[in-house]
């Protein structure tokens, strides 16, 4: 299903059959179901009539008279059926009982409301590894299990499931409806290749209406949330690098020196303080990275660190609006030109590369708070302005700089180099193919723990009583009763 996640939409014919099913008894629910017990009355009537219709053997001395009558009568087949007035009476009673049971239909397609579930996705690198016994990735396997559960629940409750997908590096939740997972959503949930994200802090997400999607069953057993863990075998491979060569894990206890690590890249975009750009080039040479400046990151392979600066300002007015502030850490200080906080028009902060650090980033930092540039809230503030805004943030594979110009104070060069070298080392993405040993270890068996609590506050429309439904039944009952009475009167 995940290979072709979206099921073809129903044909018009299929849709009309669903509508027909709803009109028929299949999708009816009853406000007074106790009345349905009374359906035994018409059934008993028909049963008694059928029993009575069975001929009984009667020896009689007046056989000759009966024989004469039988010879004169037409076929008995029609006469042995229950009389029409009895059938009408039974129909009248049945319709009256159904009307008294107050049939109702649900307002939406499956006769129930909607349920909103939050799916917390583990996007750690191991999710891209193969699941047990299948070519699919662990993400695909876990999604399959969740999809199956969703389909079952939807069929059982009649509710339409709304799924809100959250992951550590998603700027905003993704949404889908129904049990099927759209193909583009699956692609968006795959673990990023440029960065190694950690698994969510599951205990913070143990709440009603939450589903965990991971590969290895978390050490925390959910009390309210559901858990879909794909499991998976150990995957031997690169687990690190040393002296320009891979360190390989053999799947057991041994780590061996492997092949040479391919050359990585480091590139920079946007306007960058000259002192930062110059040090970055030195750093790249020191770490044997190919320095690239100005290209688009999407056109480069093997990028291990990108350095993003503010976009170049074309407006002289904005240029004049920059303000000078004193920044520094790790023993270096300098004067930085940054966009002003209050006076900056909308978009300036983003344009200037500044990221607000204030405001809640919870739970477990999974709610993206960044703006429209898609920057993740996982980025940690490395250098802060006096007003609390972030001037430099760092995350795996990426360093964002919100400073237009930086002038170091005298004697701060050495401290500046050591400080920024530590920043770049921490943000440097591993060489291609390297996964932490913990990621490569076996994820155990597949586990599905169904949620113990449904979403709270899910808007659910109450069953809607439709007057035409029981009104039509009542009318049919009256019509049948009248027909039965008329037949009876006619004798």
């Amino acid at each position: 299903m995940l290979g072709a996640p979206t099921r073809p939409s129903k044909t018009p014919r299929a849709r009309s059959s669903t509508r027909a099913e709803r009109i028929l008894v299949l999708d009816w629910t009853w406000l007074r179901p106790e009345w349905l017990v009374a359906l035994v009355v018409p059934l008993a009537l028909l049963l008694a009539a059928a029993t009575r219709a069975r001929p009984t053997d009667v020896p009689v001395g007046t056989f000759a008279l009966w024989q004469r009558l039988a010879a004169g009568a037409r076929g008995d087949r029609r006469r042995r059926r229950p009389p029409l007035e009895l059938l009408c009476a039974a129909l009248a009673i049945a319709c009256a009982v159904l009307a008294l049971a107050r049939p109702v239909t649900q307002p939406d397609a499956r006769g129930a409301g909607r349920e909103r579930w939050t799916v917390v996705v583990d996007r750690s690198p191991s999710m891209a590894l193969a699941a047990a016994g299948a070519g699919a990735s662990r993400l695909d396997a876990a999604l399959g299990a969740l999809s199956t559960w969703a389909a079952t629940r939807s069929a059982r409750t009649g509710a339409t499931l709304e799924l809100e997908w959250r992951a550590a590096d998603l700027a905003a939740p993704l949404r889908s409806e129904g049990a099927d997972v759209p193909r583009d959503l699956v692609a968006a949930l795959r673990p990023p290749t440029s960065r190694a994200l950690a698994a969510p802090e599951w205990s913070a997400w143990d709440a009603a209406g939450v589903l965990w999607l991971t590969d290895q069953r978390p050490t925390v057993t959910p009390e309210r949330a559901g858990c879909f863990a794909s499991g998976g075998p150990a995957v031997p491979g690169h687990v690190g690098e040393d002296e320009g060569r891979y360190i390989d894990w053999d799947g057991g206890e041994a780590l061996v020196v492997g092949e040479r690590v391919p050359t990585g890249r480091m590139f920079a975009t946007g306007t960058m303080p000259e002192v930062v750009r110059a040090f970055a080039e030195v750093y790249a040479a020191e770490r044997r990275l190919v320095w690239s400046g100005g290209e688009s990151a999407g056109q480069l392979d093997g990028v291990r660190l990108s350095l993003a600066g503010p976009a170049a300002e074309r407006s002289p007015g904005l240029q004049r609006a920059l303000e000078a502030v004193r920044v520094g850490r790790d023993g270096w200080f300098g004067t930085a030109l940054v966009a002003p906080a209050a006076a900056a028009p909308a978009g300036l902060v983003a344009t200037a590369g500044l990221v607000a650090t204030a405001g809640p980033v919870a739970p477990a930092g999974l709610v993206a708070s960044a703006g429209s540039d898609g920057r993740s809230a996982l980025a940690a503030t490395w250098l802060e302005l006096p007003d609390g805004r972030a001037a430099v943030t760092a995350e795996r594979g990426r360093v964002s700089v919100g400073i237009q110009q930086l002038t170091l104070e005298l004697g701060a060069d050495a401290a500046f180099a050591a400080s920024w070298a530590a920043l770049f080392d921490g943000a440097l993405a591993p060489a291609p193919g390297i996964l932490a040993l913990a990621e490569r270890r076996a994820a155990g068996a597949a586990v599905v723990l169904e949620p113990r609590a449904a979403p709270e506050g899910t808007p659910r429309e109450p069953p809607r009583e439709r007057a035409p439904l029981w009104g039509a039944l009542a009318a049919l009952a009256a019509l049948s009763a009248a027909l039965a009475a008329r037949r009876q009167a006619q004798g």
Partner: protein
Amino acid sequence: MVELQSPFVAFAPGFMRRVEQFVPRLAAARERREGAGGARLDGAGLEFVGRRPYRPGDDPRRIDWELLAREDRPWVRVLHREAAERWAIAVDVSGSMGVGPPGKLQAAAEVALALAAVGVRARALVTLHLSDGPEGSAPPNVALRRSGDLARAAEVLGRAVARPSARGLGAVIRDRRLPSDAGRVVLLGDLWDVSAAEVASLQRPGRELVVGRVLAPVELEPGQLGASAARFIDPEDGRSALVALDAHQVAAYQEDLDAELDRFVGALARRRIRVHAWRSDAPFEDPAGALLDPR
């Protein structure tokens, strides 16, 4: 083989006591009627038993003229039939008499025994004839002269069984099994196998021929079966006819039945032969009284 519902005869424990109570009552009524001049039966003679005031309709030949002259009001002589009278009672045991419940044979046997008791009390020689005997046996006859003979009659009747293959009253008539000098002949059965002409052939001058025709409730009121259809079976040869018991059919049947009974009664009435039809669930006193004391 047709399975009959009520082929046997079983007299209830208190039945003979009911007969003992019934007989004097009926005998007194008969004496009033026949002793007053209505007697038509053959017999050796009449015994004078007393006088009573004249009532309109009394035979003027019975008026005691001497007493009339002396008392200045009419009296009639009351005479009792002497003992030489002979009765013959024939009971049908053919298969159709096993229809019931209550069984028609049971009803006919009870009436036959009550009539026999009345005859014995009237000092008549009563012979009881079953239309057929047990399989392979001759039809039993019982002669009764005294009241003590009633137990034997009850025993014979109690052994009677309505069998599909048994012969009916038609055989009794055709075989001339009834005594030719019987002054009173009673035929008890459903009479479906006998024509009115055959019955009339038993009539003789000075003989009272009475026919008791018994019908089961199911034959008189088939609507009480409570079924919408029935397979009616001829108890004697097993033929069947499937009939829808709707109101129309039931009404048509009852119309045919009434016409058949009326035709039979009418044909015999012209020969001064009385026919009384009764339901098998009626107490024996009713048909027995009606057969001997028509009022």
